[in-house]
Symmetry: C2
Subunit: 336 residues, 2 copies
Amino acid sequence: MATIDDVAKLAGVSKGTVSSVFSKKRPISQPVTDRVLSVAKELGYFPNHIARSLAIKKTMIVGLKMPISKEGSTTQFEIQMLNGVIKECTKHGYRILLDTLPEHEDLTQFSSDPVDGVIMLNPRKHDQRIERFEQMRIPIVLVGRPDPLDSSISYVDNDNEKLAYEVGRYLLTQGHRSMLFLNSSANMTVSDDRLSGMKKAYEEQGVPFDNVQVMNFVRKLHATPMDYGYMSMMEMHQKVPFTAVVSDTDRVALGILRATRELGVDVPKDLSIVALSNNVRLAEEMTPKLTSVELSAETLGAEAGRILIQKMKDPSTVEQLIIDAQLIVRESTRSL
Amino acid sequence: MATIDDVAKLAGVSKGTVSSVFSKKRPISQPVTDRVLSVAKELGYFPNHIARSLAIKKTMIVGLKMPISKEGSTTQFEIQMLNGVIKECTKHGYRILLDTLPEHEDLTQFSSDPVDGVIMLNPRKHDQRIERFEQMRIPIVLVGRPDPLDSSISYVDNDNEKLAYEVGRYLLTQGHRSMLFLNSSANMTVSDDRLSGMKKAYEEQGVPFDNVQVMNFVRKLHATPMDYGYMSMMEMHQKVPFTAVVSDTDRVALGILRATRELGVDVPKDLSIVALSNNVRLAEEMTPKLTSVELSAETLGAEAGRILIQKMKDPSTVEQLIIDAQLIVRESTRSL
DNA sequence: TGCAATCATTAAAGCGGTTTAATTAAACCG
DNA sequence: CGGTTTAATTAAACCGCTTTAATGATTGCA
């Protein structure tokens, strides 16, 4: 690759001049500009992004730390998130450095990334990395709340408790009292949050919570989310009475629907179904169309991007944003 | 941020020594190593990735050029592709620089990216960028074939013609003669390829091709892929006779299924359905489970990654890889 | 015509690392 | 013990660009 020196030499100017021709930060006379550009073209010269970054201490790149499970297909949630981040960052001229590498134990191996800021997904409890970025003065925004909470850290998150509460209240006010609750895995904070939200709704309406049959996704038992829905429905159908089922995701709901077809249960006449998240974004396309909560992962990502960009301009920026989830009533629920 | 100089000074050694402690490219005595590391820790020093990249001319980053439509949700195909690229590259210690920025008209603005190689999606006809990367000596691999074909350019691609041919042959040998073919948009090469593959199957089996009613996706007419399937099915059901429908994607098939339910058409008893691509990866989870072609976008991505990594080691590498698509027969088809 | 102001250009000093060639110190050996 | 290896360290050059301060060349104005 030709360098700026080659161009400067051949065009008979200094490299400072060539630099200015390309960066346009200083006026260069027309004849000189023309000569430089033509020489550059002839040599196939393009400014070296790395060298430039080193000099100006800016890369126009945003890092996205995204853990990826080993077996790991990226979840739909992550994808939509990513989409939001991309759109927002691209709009402001930033590119995304996807970082799904597992972290090196060896601190010696750790190097500061070629990024101007970082968005981090699903931070862990007492996440070491957060301090490290702060130490390096690299602006950071989390998607998901920091644990422990820290008012100096910017993040965006859903309010899962509120979301489950809304769903619970909706079903209760529609006359449903007993339901099957297909929550996600037992060990996740989101499950706890949802559970307490649901309890709150029952409490508020004065209905005893033992009307709710709670289940959890278990990887070993359920091969796919759909299996989880299908098997739970088949298993619980006769065992306990319920007029509604609250499902982890739309994929799980797909399994429930399959079971209802086999069982001859009509949705929504005999059974109402609500999905707590719209992963595959298929609610609109299912039969019947699925009442579900719109988690707006994309908004989450976009907002994270927005805040980060702001923070890269003004490092003192701190913003903590809870994105409201929307319950969208479609055809899979009815009031009793 | 502390620099290598700060560390060197405080530890009372030269920067070359500090460099070696971190890069481990040269043995440094234990006492010195310890001293340097402790000083580094104290100062919160981490090697600067950009400076290092400039010096060693290597970034361990792979660029992914991925056009993103303006309205644009990323398609499932792209996502699975991306997933494949990520997995393969991560495995070898590379990170991904996502580049969805529209290209600058102004060549002046174009700078060589901080990447060691590039994967490019959906290259355009006579794509300027390809030459540019070659000029810059940056290894590149395409996903999708270059147009015009060029035996010096590495790429991976599906064989859409063969794929449609297989589907056509499968249906014909199962006794289906007339079908509804919901192809993708008319102006895409993939549509042409599929059409000619399908024709070939008919020719081979000696069945006149006018038994096939071909439709195309039209953005203005069909709000969603599902609408495309639903509307086409509703419209054509009485107009022309057919015992099978070949659908663009699984989303489209979802619309077809909805229509059959409303029309009281049983799948697969009265109608067989095959999807030409498994975008939402929901074939398994639909009712009935959908017979579909597994495009293996993820494999495409992973293979592109593999070839690129190879090419970064040995720039003379050229590989052109056609990934076979698999027709997976599930429950939505039957032989007559 | 002389002096200040303006404009275009350049030389050189960074940016923060790596690496080569030279130097010093320690170890080995007959 | 002198001479040769070997190992550890360093000084300085370099990677390719930006930017500051200095230098000339022009222009404006009285």
